[in-house]
């Protein structure tokens, strides 16, 4: 196999993935606010309008309901729309279309109608932004049958998962960890890593405590694992990657060895992804558990003003504190 490797930031990897999808399939369209000439506020669609034209890279009117609703129509007509929502906090005008229409069309039509729509949403905090620009709304979507939800944590997954999502036939909400847009990695642009879109993955082996996380917190947890080594604690880190459906087999396998699980996410705690993971692990691994499942998350408040977001967001110390709590039993 030849390899065509390139060092890319996560944002550039997404851009390369979009480009590849547009080259491979003329039915793929980009649509959203400022995605054309500007290339999106994070430049994820940079250069695409120039190369693929205004018919395929559409600067839409400023209306998220319109973006999602017209994507439904375009999809019914055989296109594969990739919608960009500018920031996490602005998806809600389109939420009705997503929940009542996109999520149910296949079901309602007895499987006759397919909506291969991808909705890209930059999410999460840690960038010092004003309100509505730092939220983690993934659970709202994961709670909705009919939608699939995935999130990438590194440039390689950004590049491949996005292409896999675009070529899939179900509607997929694709969450992009915006504070990691500028993290770099070497990406093999030609050879698919072979892992499925809806598969989670152990990203660091360990033996004392299992840490399950996703998106922006994967890096934080990997750093925590390095710090934990100093105290002779070995953390196994799992990048969930897919939030709906969840793929917890690697988590069960790990917890059966470690007996302890910490789930980490930025989103608020109550009825978050961690809650579902805890419930399922309790069902599947009850006799292996040495401690209750610990959740390290944002608090159950609106996202706070930027100057105190560091105290709201889980960080390395809070992950280690969660590990301590799991080990205290």
């Amino acid at each position: 196999m030849t390899s065509n490797a390139s060092t890319l930031t996560l944002a550039k990897a997404l851009n390369a993935g979009l480009r590849r999808s547009m080259e491979n399939d003329p039915k793929v369209l980009m649509m959203g606010e400022d995605v054309g000439k500007l290339g999106g506020v994070f430049r994820v669609t940079d250069g695409l309008q120039k190369d693929f034209g205004e018919d395929r890279v559409i600067d839409t009117p400023l209306a998220e309901s319109g973006i999602i609703g017209t994507a439904v129509g375009l999809a019914l007509r055989g296109y594969r729309p990739v919608c960009e929502i500018q920031f996490d906090g602005f998806v809600f005008p389109g939420y009705d279309q997503l929940v009542t229409q996109v999520a149910k069309m296949h079901f309602r039509s007895g499987g006759r109608l397919r909506l291969p729509i991808v909705v890209r949403i930059p999410y999460g905090g840690g960038i010092g932004a004003v309100e509505h620009h730092s939220e983690s709304p993934e659970a709202y979507f994961a709670h909705t049958p009919g939608l699939k939800v995935v999130t990438c944590a590194n440039p390689i997954d950004a590049y491949w998962m996005l292409q896999d999502a675009i070529s899939a036939d179900d509607p997929i909400i694709f969450f992009e960890p915006k504070r990691r847009y500028y993290e770099k990695a070497e990406v093999d642009l030609d050879n698919h890593p072979g892992i499925g879109l809806h598969a989670s993955r152990v990203v660091r082996d360990g033996s004392d405590v299992t840490v399950a996380t996703y998106g922006p917190m994967v890096k934080t947890c990997l750093e925590a694992a390095v710090a934990a080594e100093d105290e002779e604690r070995s953390l196994e880190i799992i990048d969930l990657r897919t939030l709906s459906p969840l793929d917890l087999d690697p988590v069960y396998e790990s917890v059966r060895r470690t007996g302890r699980l910490v789930v980490v996410h930025e989103a608020q705690r109550t009825l978050g992804i961690g809650t579902e993971v805890a419930a399922r692990v309790t069902e599947e691994c009850f006799y292996s558990l040495e401690a209750p499942v610990v959740r390290v998350t944002g608090y159950d408040t609106p996202y706070p003003p930027a100057r105190i977001e560091d105290d709201y967001l889980p960080d390395l110390d809070r992950v280690l504190d969660g590990v301590d709590r799991a080990l205290a039993y």
Binding site: E33, D34, G36, K37, L38, G39, V41, D59, T60, P61, L62, A63, S65, G66, G89, F90, F92, P93, G128, A129, V130, E131, H132, R269, Y299, D300, T301, P302, P304, P305, A306, R307, I308, E309, D311, Y312, D317, R318, D321
Partner: protein, 384 residues
């Protein structure tokens, strides 16, 4: 007030732009208007000087905020450079009892309503999400989610109506509501819905759209094929376009629309035709999507220069006056910088205080958990 009846109007038609209400030309000539002269014939030279002061001081708040952002004191700023006349003219038409629902860019409106400029900075510094008391100045919190506030304004106006607080003929009682929003916002469903609600309820609300020609990188053509003000007719209420860089014209048309609302005659739409001279926000790079020539064209229509020219032309002010305003702006800027740097960060556990009126014990438990966690670091420090 002096009106130059010989002057010809430059209402934009020459630029291929549709007719708009204009009372002051970019050169500072006061041109007559059949309908709107009467709406501002009470305006004294003192008040004109006051408008000039509003324009200059609010522009200074804006430029200081841009520098404070550059210095790292603010996380972000949304500059209103170029839109001062639309904001000052419209808000000087308000009475004390009227209510304002702004976007995130209404800094000159906030100024005219008496909001402390340092309080405006908190949201952008990242220490709060709007620290002023909306009831104090009838100036609601900034709304960032595009268009949402137009519905709030309409509902508020429906409340005014139910309270019998309009249509009584009492100038100190009758109230109106004004909703500010941008050209891009007109595409949001919320804005169309607010037009419908206002129309069918005959609600006392004025929709004040600052068409600054851009929604981040998207030019007006991405949002509409008809001039925005014409949308109103389809919803069943009047709409007009005004020169948004003309403080007097903005004052006149907003006075008329607010009075309609106060008198119980229903909503109106005003499209203030203006230009966003700066970047969308301090994180934006407009060179990626627009040409400098456009900026040059609009620089000639500067909202402050034309008032100054008018005042000089009609001998309403001398050099000493302009110098005095400059000095006042310098003082205010100095105070703003000082007060911005002094804005305290909130206590981390304060995030739990205002989520609910009646805080549930589960949330109090989370607060205790946070406090215990943060205290564990203090203990570590102490034991070192």
């Amino acid at each position: 007030m002096t009106v130059d009846t010989a002057a010809t109007s430059n209402r934009g038609a020459a630029d291929g732009e549709p007719e708009l209400v204009q009372l002051l030309t970019p050169e500072g000539q006061r041109i007559p208007h059949e309908r709107y002269d009467a709406l501002i014939d009470d305006i004294t030279a003192d008040e004109i000087r006051g408008f000039y002061r509003d324009l200059v001081l609010s522009r200074r708040i804006d430029s200081e905020a841009v520098s404070l952002q550059r210095q790292g004191e603010l996380g972000l700023w949304a500059s209103m450079l170029g839109q001062e006349a639309a904001q000052v003219g419209s808000s000087r038409a308000l009475r004390r009892q009227d209510h304002v629902f702004p976007t995130y860019r209404e800094h000159a409106v906030a100024w005219c309503r008496g909001v402390d400029p340092a309080q405006l900075l908190g949201l952008f510094r990242g220490v709060d999400q709007g620290s002023w008391d909306p009831a104090q100045n009838n100036f609601h919190l900034y709304t960032i989610v595009i268009g949402a506030q137009t519905l709030h304004a309409t509902g508020y106006a429906m409340g005014v109506q139910r309270d019998g607080a309009n249509g009584t003929g009492d100038p100190d009682r009758d109230a109106a509501v004004i909703a500010y929003f941008g050209d891009g916002a007109t595409s949001q469903g919320d804005v169309s819905e607010s037009f419908i609600w206002a129309s069918v309820n005959n609600a006392p609300v004025v929709f004040f759209c600052q068409n600054n020609q851009w929604a981040i990188s998207e030019p007006l053509e991405r949002q509409t094929r008809v001039p925005l003000y014409r949308r109103a007719h389809g919803f069943g209420f009047p709409g007009l376009r005004v020169d948004g860089n003309d403080v007097l014209a903005c004052l006149a048309v907003t006075r008329e629309a607010l009075q309609r609302a106060r008198d119980g005659e229903g909503p109106s739409l005003i499209e203030a035709f203006t230009y966003r001279m700066g970047a969308h926000t301090t994180t934006d790079d407009p060179t990626r999507y627009r040409l400098d020539t456009e900026l040059e064209h609009w620089r000639l229509k500067d909202p402050i220069e034309r008032v100054k020219a008018y005042m000089i032309r009609s001998e309403m002010a001398d050099q000493a006056f302009f110098e005095q305003i400059e000095a006042e702006a310098d003082d205010m800027a100095e105070r703003l910088r000082r007060e911005c740097r002094a804005l305290p960060d909130p206590a981390p556990d304060s995030i739990f205080d205002q989520v609910y009126v009646d805080t549930p014990p589960t949330l109090l438990a989370q607060r205790d958990e946070m406090v215990r966690y943060l205290d564990s670091f203090a203990d570590e420090e102490a034991s070192r």
